[in-house]
């Protein structure tokens, strides 16, 4: 059993999600009596393998689940995949996977490109590190979920405005469900991102006191991108709340959720491509500073 679990790789569950996405994408092309079972089977198998993979890392690595960028992305993908399975059970006739699974696969791809090296931790920083990571994780998953719901809202609204019946193989949830999901996701994203940012500041102060990690300056790309993201998400959440009683609130919310996702993606790319002292031990930070222009 241990050999079986340790043999599970990222490719195993990514391939399962990919087959499930293929099943969803083929719905408009042809009808099949076994596709539904195949879809559920591969999505569930992928999620099961994904769970075992994360559980195995938690059992064998000293500081998971949120101790490296690799684990962080995989955990975000796992949460979204779990949400997708729940939707598949609650609304089996809708093709939500067509929108959720690409995001899941994108996060798995991002994990593969990320470092597996854990962030240095000490008992003093462990709790604040976990809080910081958890809030950021929740914010990112909420942004991704909200964007998926927002995109579906826009597609469904366009179909209804053009007075067309649902396209074959593309039945989406109702505007009511999608609008409430977008709105809630926007609120959750804003307040968890803010909490993640504040806990990051606390973590930075604790690091400075214990000297475990290099102090992250205010001008660090990670700090700047997080500040930008938090500012945007809070502004978007406030705007959504202010416009809630307007007839076009749902449409505005859908567009805001898509912009939030774009801002999140841009901030992640900025963080990945930029030079940072975020999560870097003092020796490495010194080297990073020397290499930086």
């Amino acid at each position: 059993m241990t050999a079986f679990i340790s043999g599970i790789s990222v490719v195993c569950f990514a391939a399962s999600y990919l087959v499930a996405l293929g099943c969803e994408a083929s719905r408009p092309l042809f009808r099949s009596g076994v596709r539904g079972a195949l879809l559920v089977g591969f999505a569930a198998a992928g999620f099961f393998a994904h769970t075992l993979f994360l559980a195995w890392r938690a059992a064998t690595e000293p500081a998971v689940p949120l101790s490296s960028a690799f684990d962080w992305y995989l955990l975000a993908a796992w949460l979204l995949a779990g949400g997708y399975l729940w939707l598949l059970r609650a609304n089996p006739r809708t093709q939500v996977g067509l929108f959720v699974l690409p995001v899941v696969l994108g996060l798995v791809g991002a994990a593969q490109l990320s470092s597996r090296a854990p962030f240095p931790q000490s008992p003093a920083t462990q709790i604040w590190g976990a809080i910081h990571g958890s809030f950021n994780l929740a914010a990112s998953v909420a942004v991704a979920g909200g964007a998926v719901a927002g995109l579906m809202w826009l597609i469904q609204a366009t179909r209804l405005a053009r007075k067309r019946t649902p396209a074959r193989g593309l039945r989406l949830p109702s505007l009511e469900l999608l609008a409430s999901t977008t709105s809630r996701a926007g609120q959750v994203a804003a307040w968890t991102a803010a909490a993640g940012f504040i806990s990051g500041l606390v973590l930075n102060a604790v690091n400075r006191r214990h000297g475990l990690l290099e102090t992250v300056p205010w001008t660090d790309p990670v700090v700047l991108r997080m500040a930008m993201l938090v500012a945007w998400l809070v502004a978007a959440a406030l705007a959504m709340r202010a416009l809630a009683r307007r007839p076009d609130a749902a449409r505005v919310g859908a567009w805001l959720s898509l912009v939030s996702f774009a801002v999140l993606t841009a901030s992640i790319l900025w963080g990945v491509l930029g030079t940072t002292r975020h999560g870097v031990p003092p020796a490495h930070a010194a080297a990073t500073n020397e290499a930086a222009p």
């Binding site: 009808r31 099949s32 009596g33 469904q156 179909r159 209804l160 405005a161 007075k163 067309r164 019946t165 649902p166 074959r168 989406l172 949830p173 109702s174 505007l175 009511e176 469900l177 809630a244 009683r245 307007r246 007839p247 076009d248 609130a249 749902a250 449409r251």
Partner: protein, 424 residues
């Protein structure tokens, strides 16, 4: 001939004659009993719906089904119609054409509304009634089971019955459900008393709608309508307030001018606080000013919009026809192959019996010459003989089965009878 059919549908029989020809359940049972007494040993199933009356008869060898003219006369006699009148409008089929027809009927391919699902239940009921009257047998049993299997395949492997075709069902399932997740917490406002309001409300109630308000210019009429529709009456004078409180409006007044103008709606809109509104304007001329449909949060559908959606669905069903016909063709060929293969059974049984008899005689002789064999050895030798006979028979039986797929294998059967000296 093994299978025979006479029948008429909405396409061939005028409505007035179809009404006279239609059988109630009791009349159908009586007709089946009469058929059984008059044509003993034959199988029969009578399918009678509002769009078709069809008689499926079957029999083999000495009890082949009656000729089509006798079946027409039988139907005419049962319903008290002159046979010559029916003879000119009823279709007649035999053997494979009967199978193809029944499979098409059960799959909804021959229905007035292409792909409608009710016909499957009606075919099942007709078969069950014939079973109760003991007029079914292996032929009709096999044929009707195969027909139901075909209908199931057509339903699951094509999109023939997926899209809705009636305006109320499209309005609720494809549009209102696209906006609202649930209806049990929504206010439905019915304006007017058009016939389509009843049908639309039926779908809305099935979807969970409970809070229904009926508004009419005449208060007494609104009371009556509300009682009939299971809602509560509202006052026409409160139209703006009712519009403000509603989530979904079904409008079917007979007014010659729009009942809800842009101005009236603007007054209601302020109090709506941004809640979305679905308007199903089923009236001609329209009850809602079309400009209202351009407002954010308003999903306005006129009867023409819904009619166009129904027509698109109808065309979509038509596009599924080739796939559905391919399934019918495949299942009909399979059924006919099995039916033809059934005719080879007596010859195969004779062949097996003859080989078995010869084998047993040879084994008895062998065992007499070898008295020292114990029971285990004898059983082993007997099994070897049986395996040998089965292997020798395998090729001719496979040839018979393959030949059956394209028709009754008369040539092969004759050859087997002559080669192995089998009796008729």
């Amino acid at each position: 001939m093994t299978l025979a059919f006479v029948g008429g549908t909405h396409r061939t029989v005028p409505l007035a004659l179809r009404e006279r020809l239609a059988f109630s359940a009791e009349q159908a049972a009586e007709a089946l009993r009469r058929f059984r007494d008059r044509f003993p040993g034959r199988e029969v199933v009578l399918l009678s719906t509002c769009n078709r009356v069809e008689l499926y008869a079957a029999g083999e060898e000495a009890a082949v089904p009656p000729p089509a003219e006798q079946l027409v006369s039988f139907l005419a006699e049962c319903r008290g119609i002159e046979a010559s009148v029916l003879a000119s409008v009823l279709a007649r089929e035999s053997d494979e054409a009967v199978v193809r027809h029944l499979f098409s009927v059960a799959s909804g391919l021959d229905s007035m509304v292409l792909g409608e699902p009710q016909i499957v239940a009606q075919v099942k009921q007709a078969w069950a009634l014939a079973q109760r009257q003991e007029t079914t047998g292996p032929l009709t049993g096999g044929m009707f089971q195969a027909a139901l299997r075909t209908a199931k395949r057509v339903a699951s492997e094509t999109a023939l019955g997926r899209e809705r075709l009636s305006i109320p069902s499209v309005a609720v399932a494809d549009f209102a459900r696209g906006v609202f997740e649930r209806f049990d917490d929504k206010r439905v406002l019915v304006l007017g008393a058009g016939k389509m309001a009843h049908e639309t409300l039926r779908y809305l109630r099935e979807a969970g709608a409970r809070d229904i308000v009926v508004v009419n210019r005449t208060a007494a009429r609104a009371d009556r309508l509300a009682a009939g529709l299971g809602g509560r009456p509202g006052r026409f004078a409160d139209l703006v307030a009712e519009l403000a409180a509603a989530d979904l409006v079904v409008s079917t007044t007979g007014a010659s001018e729009p009942v809800v103008t842009a101005d009236i709606f603007t007054r209601a809109e302020v109090a709506r606080e941004g809640r979305p509104l679905v308007v199903l304007d089923l009236a001609v001329p329209r009850d809602f000013d079309p400009a209202i449909g351009m407002r954010p949060g308003v999903w306005l559908y006129s009867i023409d919009d819904l009619g166009a959606a129904c027509e698109a669905n109808r065309r979509s069903r038509q596009r599924e026809m080739p796939a559905a016909l391919a399934i019918v063709d495949e299942e009909a060929r399979r059924f006919m192959g099995d039916l033809h293969h059934r005719s080879t059974t007596p010859v195969i049984e004779q062949l097996r019996a003859g080989w078995s008899e010869t084998g047993d005689a040879e084994l008895d002789r062998l065992f007499r010459r070898l008295p020292g064999l114990d029971d285990a050895a004898r059983a082993e030798i007997r099994q070897a003989f049986e395996r040998y006979a089965a292997k020798l028979l395998h090729s001719p039986l496979t040839s018979l089965r393959n030949e059956s797929r394209s028709g009754p294998p008369h040539g092969l059967l004759d050859a087997l009878k002559r080669l192995f000296d089998l009796k008729e």
